[in-house]
Symmetry: C2
Subunit: 445 residues, 2 copies
């Protein structure tokens, strides 16, 4: 039934450089598409996803502990008992019962919220996209940690917002550097719309914002008239069960909070939420309506029933224990195998270790060689909007088994040794990138 | 656990008009939010959704004929057998097996496509939003039928695209008027990015584009260098089982095709797709990734299994018969009850009748009175980007039973009679709107 891809390429048209352009639509695209670029790992996806490759690249949660039998019975019940609701359009705002449960979850981090101010989204990514849609005109500035979540940078680019990174240290975002960045950006006549921050178990940096810094950061943003967008997908996954007070809990009118069930329950259902200041919420619902009409009703009912009937806090405890074992495995493997000159964060929680490699090694250039050696990672440049990060990489320990993690790190160490040998012998032959101190990573601060 | 809404309003700030503004974030919103407005029916939603109100307003498909027992067993199987895949992130491109099945479905309308060029979206609304994201800079023009789908107008507004409407007659979009609109827009120095069209069983107009016009419209768009976005959610629902050749079937390089399972299977799963020209597809995947990361994996697997194991064409036949009965009911009720001076389309298929009322009656102003009389409809202004439509309304016959439809039309007729009486006595006291011939509806051409 399907057409075979023609072997002859499209005829295309000539572009000004004289090279043949294979896309006849090139002149039609919106300016924002210039910022849409594929991640490095995607180009290698076909190879990197082979079973013999240990992938430390993706951020897929490990779902093996989920009670599939119980869930199987529950989804069947929802369709049998309430199928005509589950399979029908809902509102863009989200299912009311779920929005109430979401308020109970957020209360664990000190948030007092009204269910009316919760908007359910197709994963937290959609929440991020909607918040950017609401606030960012082209050229507006978003302040973000450097490094920051790659999916956030993708949304900011899609709305032509410009990212100014602020460095973290082992206690998270550095208030003094945030103040300086705001002053500098405002003096340059640029409009800052919000601070995008992942306070807990940072992706990719693996650090948590110290509690004593939180009030200061909120105060800085208030003073500068800048909104705070708090992205908190990992907050309940602290390995020792500890939680931190959400930024939203002390500043409800100036914080937009993004939450997700992707890490605490099931990413494939794509259920996340935005808790918005009351004044913002109606516009948020309208924006969401223009994006997807409504989030899937069935999926919201699945999450709602799971929360109502299952020991979901006990389940999160199981997840946390899984991740702690994997964190222990990667840290001991990094200690054992990585050559001198490498440094890395020591995460107390979360999914990621952020590694800095010696000068002369370019993690983006090295990636194809690593994949050939059957290990994949995410090179650091993807986590910066400004080209920084070529000496950094993110290693995800969330998904593979501890044994595979150890083996992956062993392979990675061999590739690194060989790159460092080359660099010592020939200098860095990869394209030179920004490696200066203007956006220090947690390891270079 | 949830906070009570404080009874004291936010302190707010003064805006230039001197009135107190309750939204402290007002100056922060992006310019595009100016185009985000709630539909008239939404303001009345709490009342209009009471059971005693006959709603002819929504476009909810009637799912009563779905085999819930079978579906219940199938969703349970997917979780039990393949839950770790179903509940996990997938690719932004979509599940490969489903993309192959989608190609088989599109073949029913003459489309030859490669599964690689299909991108699964969170309903067709997301497809529309992504296409607009890819192609429209602020100020770019989209040509659309007048009236057009309200959700499409919402996406165009979100990207600050400007809509130029072209009228239809009983055979759909009028080629000569399309040519004139393109000439006029180009002469004004404006950039037209695409024609957005619903060729089959139009929402809201209830007409179908004549087959003999299709090649001409494609040719006009090609000549003017304008892409065609073909939105076809209803194509397989022709009451007599007839299908029409998709625009995409004869012009694969210049048509972006939007499809959906919302009307042929289950809207609440939010599974739709875009078939894009090959050159566009990669950018589309990147855009989708920035919007939601990926569509829900579980939902795609449900649709795929349903298509593979169920007599889905037989199911569509049942849906069609339901809708045909309802169409018959509404047309006979309109004939019987509506006062002289009203006219309406006679749909062969689809979900909607488009009614034009006598001069002096404003359907938007009348809506609260209709809801008080326990009948709801969608007023015509929502289907135009330019304020036209105050003498039009859309009646949806897809959801209520034939008996309820008859009763709804009877109530509507009484409200109309009373409005017409008032207009005869006092003139039209509602705010005057554009009622001129510059955007004639199907009934005024």
């Amino acid at each position: 039934m399907t057409e075979n891809r023609p072997s002859k390429p499209h005829s295309g048209r000539q572009n000004p450089s004289g090279r043949q352009n294979l896309d006849p639509h090139l002149e039609r695209y919106a300016a924002r598409t210039a910022g849409m670029t594929a991640s490095e790992i995607r180009a290698l996806f076909a190879v990197a996803s082979r079973p013999e490759v240990v992938s430390l690249a993706g951020g897929m949660p490990n779902l093996a502990a989920l009670p599939l039998d119980t869930l199987s019975a529950q989804v069947a019940e929802i369709i049998a008992e309430d199928g005509l609701v589950a399979l029908q359009y809902g509102s863009a705002h989200g299912v009311p019962a779920l929005r109430e449960q979401i308020c109970e979850i957020m209360a664990l981090e000190g948030i007092k919220a009204h269910p009316d101010d919760v908007v359910v989204t197709v994963g937290s990514q959609m929440g991020l996209d909607m918040v950017t849609r609401l606030f960012c005109d082209p050229g507006d500035v978003v302040i973000a940690e450097g490094p920051s979540y790659v999916g956030a940078l993708g949304s900011f680019a899609a709305y032509q917002a410009q990212v100014v990174h602020v460095a973290m240290d082992e206690h998270g975002l550095v208030p003094e550097l945030l103040r300086e960045a705001l002053d500098r950006t405002e003096k340059a006549g640029r409009r800052v719309k919000f601070l995008y921050t992942i306070p807990n178990f940072h992706n990719p940096a693996g650090v948590t914002l110290a509690v004593e810094r939180r009030a200061e950061i909120l105060e800085i943003c208030r003073t500068h008239g800048v909104l705070v967008v708090e992205d908190n997908p990992y907050g309940l996954l602290g390995f020792d069960g500890q939680t931190y007070p959400a930024l939203r809990s002390t500043d409800p009118d100036n914080v937009v909070y993004l939450g997700s069930f992707s890490k605490t329950f099931a990413s494939g259902l794509r259920v996340g939420w935005v808790l918005a200041p009351h004044a913002v919420r109606e516009k948020l619902v309208l924006a969401a309506e223009s994006a997807t009409l409504c989030p899937p009703t069935f999926n919201q009912m699945i999450v709602s029933r799971y929360l109502a009937t299952h020991d979901w806090k006990g389940q999160i405890k199981k997840f946390r224990e899984n991740y702690r074992d994997r964190r222990d495995a990667i840290l001991s493997a990094l200690d054992q195998y990585l050559p001198p000159g490498c440094s890395w964060t020591k995460p107390d929680d979360g999914f990621y270790v952020w590694v800095t490699v010696p000068e002369g090694v370019d993690t983006k250039a090295m990636l194809p060689r690593a994949v050939t050696a059957r290990v994949a990672y995410a090179s650091g440049t993807g986590f910066y909007a400004d080209g920084f990060g070529s000496r950094q990489m993110r290693l995800s320990y969330c998904y593979p088994t501890p044994e595979r993690i150890r083996e992956g790190v062993r392979r990675l160490a061999a590739v690194l040794e060989s790159e460092m040998d080359l660099a010592r012998t020939f200098g860095n032959v990869s394209a030179r990138r920004i490696q200066g101190p203007q956006n220090p990573s947690p390891d270079t601060v």
